[in-house]
Symmetry: C2
Subunit: 343 residues, 2 copies
C-alpha cells in the first residue's frame, strides 16, 4: 500500500536526522507529526535507529491500521518510561511541547530532553505522494474562490457569503472547513484587520473584499487569498490592488531553490515600505499537514527554499478605517520552475 511505503521512507529519513543531530530517539505526540510518521493523529510514538513503538488507546488498535514499522501497544501508566529505561536511551529529542508537559516529562524520564524540530524540517519538503493531495486540496480552494466571486454582490451579507462558500468547499470534498476557524472574509474597512472574521455586515458597491480560504484533503491543507472588488472601488483601493497583485508576481519571480526565505520577505517588505505602508505579517509559510508549517517566509528567516517545498506568498497592504488588500497563492517549488497550485 502506497501510504505504508511512504511512511517507511519517512521513518528512514527521520533516522538519518536523529543520527545527524546526535540524539538516541525522538518522542512524538504532536498530531501532525504523528500523522506524518504513523498515518494517524493519535497516541505517542518513540522512534530510534532500531525501534519504532506506538502507544495508543486500546480502542484505536481495533480501528486504525498501522505501518508494519511500528510495534503498536496499548497505553499504560509508565510504559514509555520503562521502555526508555530498558532500551538505554540517554538523549531524547522532544517536540516544542507546552512547559507543563515538559516539566512532567523531565520528572518522569530522568534523562536529557532535547527540544527539536527535526520532524517539522523533514515535513517541509514534500514527496510526489504528498504533492498530489496538496494539488487536490488547492483545487478545492479554487472552487471555493470561484463561488466567492459569483456570490459576492452589492448587498450580500458577509456571513451568508461565508456559509455559501464553505458549503461549496465541503461539498467538493474538503475534510474540514477552511483552516481551523473557518475562512476569513472581510469587506470594506473590515479588510484592514488581518484576522477579521465575517460578521452581519452587508457588502456594498465600491468596497473591496478580502477572501482567504482553503481546504483539506487526506490531511493536507490549502490556502489562498483574493481581494475582490464589488463594482468600481475608489482610485486608492484600485491602485493598491494593482500594486499588491504585481508585488506577489514579482516576489514569485525571485524564488528559486537555494534562496533564503528571509530574502524573499525582505524584498516584499521593502517594496511595501517604499510605498509608504507596512507589512504586518510574514510574506508566507509552508503548507502541509499543518496550515502554517516550515518554511517560515518571514523577517530574518534562514530557512532555505528547496525543491519540493510547498508554501504561500501573500503580500498584504492594510489601510486602517479604509480597506485591506491581500493576494496569496500556494506554490510548489520545482527545480527550474515555480508552479502556482492555486493559480
Amino acid at each position: 500500500m502506497d501510504t505504508m511505503r511512504e511512511i517507511g521512507k519517512r521513518i528512514g529519513n527521520l533516522r538519518g536526522s536523529l543520527e545527524r543531530e546526535g540524539v538516541d530517539a525522538i518522542l512524538l505526540s504532536n498530531p501532525s507529526n504523528l500523522r506524518y510518521l504513523t498515518g494517524n493523529e493519535t497516541g505517542r510514538a518513540l522512534i530510534s535507529k532500531d525501534i519504532a513503538v506506538l502507544w495508543l488507546r486500546e480502542l484505536y488498535m481495533d480501528i486504525y491500521s498501522f505501518s508494519r514499522e511500528f510495534d503498536v501497544r496499548a497505553e499504560e501508566k509508565d510504559a514509555i518510561r520503562h521502555y526508555i529505561e530498558k532500551s538505554g536511551i540517554k538523549k531524547l529529542a522532544i517536540e516544542n511541547i507546552p512547559i507543563n508537559l515538559y516539566e512532567r516529562r523531565k520528572e518522569e524520564f530522568h534523562i536529557e530532553l532535547i527540544p527539536t524540530n527535526i520532524v517539522e524540517r523533514l515535513r517541509a519538503v514534500k514527496s510526489g505522494y504528498e504533492i498530489e493531495f496538496l494539488r487536490n486540496s488547492a483545487g478545492i480552494a479554487k472552487k471555493g474562490m470561484n463561488r466567492a466571486k459569483e456570490f459576492i454582490r452589492d448587498g450580500t451579507n458577509e456571513l451568508d457569503a461565508v456559509a455559501e462558500i464553505e458549503y461549496t468547499i465541503r461539498k467538493s470534498g474538503s475534510e474540514s472547513p477552511p483552516f481551523g476557524e473557518g475562512m476569513l472574509l472581510a469587506s470594506g474597512p473590515g479588510g484592514a484587520n488581518i484576522h477579521a472574521h465575517a460578521g452581519m455586515k452587508k457588502i456594498r458597491e465600491g468596497e473591496i473584499v478580502v477572501v482567504d480560504l482553503g481546504a483539506r484533503v487526506k490531511g493536507y491543507y490549502s490556502d489562498m487569498t483574493r481581494t475582490i472588488p464589488v463594482g468600481k472601488p475608489d482610485p486608492l483601493a484600485e491602485e493598491i490592488l494593482q500594486f499588491t497583485e504585481n508585488l506577489e508576481a514579482e516576489a514569485i519571480d525571485r524564488i528559486h531553490p537555494g534562496i533564503t526565505a528571509g530574502e524573499i520577505h525582505d524584498f516584499v517588505n521593502r517594496k511595501i515600505e517604499d510605498r509608504g505602508y507596512k507589512l504586518y505579517h510574514s510574506t508566507g509559510h509552508g503548507v502541509g499537514l499543518d496550515i502554517h508549517e516550515l518554511p517560515n517566509i518571514g523577517p530574518k528567516s534562514e530557512d532555505v527554499l528547496q525543491e519540493g517545498m510547498v508554501f504561500t506568498i501573500e503580500p498584504g497592504v492594510y489601510v486602517p478605517k479604509k480597506f485591506g488588500v491581500r493576494f496569496e497563492d500556494m506554490l510548489l517549488l520545482g527545480r527550474n520552475k515555480v508552479e502556482i497550485l492555486t493559480g
Copy 2:
C-alpha cells in the same frame, strides 16, 4: 459599554488571584486569555496590581477599541523586558507556553517565571454577561442538530450532511464552523472512532450516526452530541443508545455545586465498565472562549464544580467495527439546579 465594564471586573478578579498566588504580575499571550482580559485576541498583555499594559502591532491600535484599563503601546523590540525591569517585577506568572518560547523568555527577562493557570481558573466561572452568549451559541447548535435530524436519511453521503449542517450553523450566525476542525459526523462502524470526521461514505438504513457539533457567538463556543438512528438499529445498538442516554441523565442528576469533577467522571466510568465497556475519553469539559477549558471532568480531576460553571457531560460507548454512541449536553450549573443549555 457593557464589555468594558465586564473587562474591568475581570481585571479586578485577576489582581485578587495574583495577590493570593504571591506573584507580582502576569504576562499573557494566549488568544483566549487576551480576549477575556482585553477584548481582542492579539498582542501581549502585562497585568500587575497597579498596571495593565498591552503591546500590539501598530495596525491594531487603529482598528480595535480597548478598555480604558489598558495602557496600549506599539510592539517594539525589548519593550516588555524594559518595562519589567523598570517596574521592579520579580515574580512573573506566565501561561502554559511552548518550551521554545519559555526558554527565550527566561533568557530575555532574567527573573523568576512561574507557570500558572490563574486566568483559566477565573474563566471557568461565567458571569451573566457571558452566559447570554453561551446560551445563544447553544441555541445555534440546537438548530444545527435539528437540521441533522431532518437531513440524515438512508443514502445520505456523510460529507453532504456535514456541508448542509455547517451551512445551517453559519447561516444562523455562528462566527466559525463547529470547533476547530469542523463538526464530527460518523455513521455505522465509523462511529466507534472518537475523532472520526465525515467521509464519502453513504449512511445506511439501520445504522446509527454520531453527530457532534457546536457554534461560536462573540467568542463563546457551544458543544453538543446526539446519536441518531436511521430506521431501526439492531438490538445491541438500541440497548446501548438507551443505556448511554440514561447514563447522561443520571450523571446530570448527581451534579451540584461542591462536588468534584472527578466524582462525576468516576460515576460515569464505573457504570460503563459495569456494562462491560470502557470510557475512552473524559466525561466532560468546560466550554467558553475555548471549546475545551476548565473544569476538566476527567479521571482524578479535583476541579470543584461551582455555581456559574458551564460544561459538558458526554458519556460515550464505542464498539469497534460496529458503532459508537455518545450523548452530550452543555450545562449551566446554578445554585439549586442544572440548566441544560442544549436541551
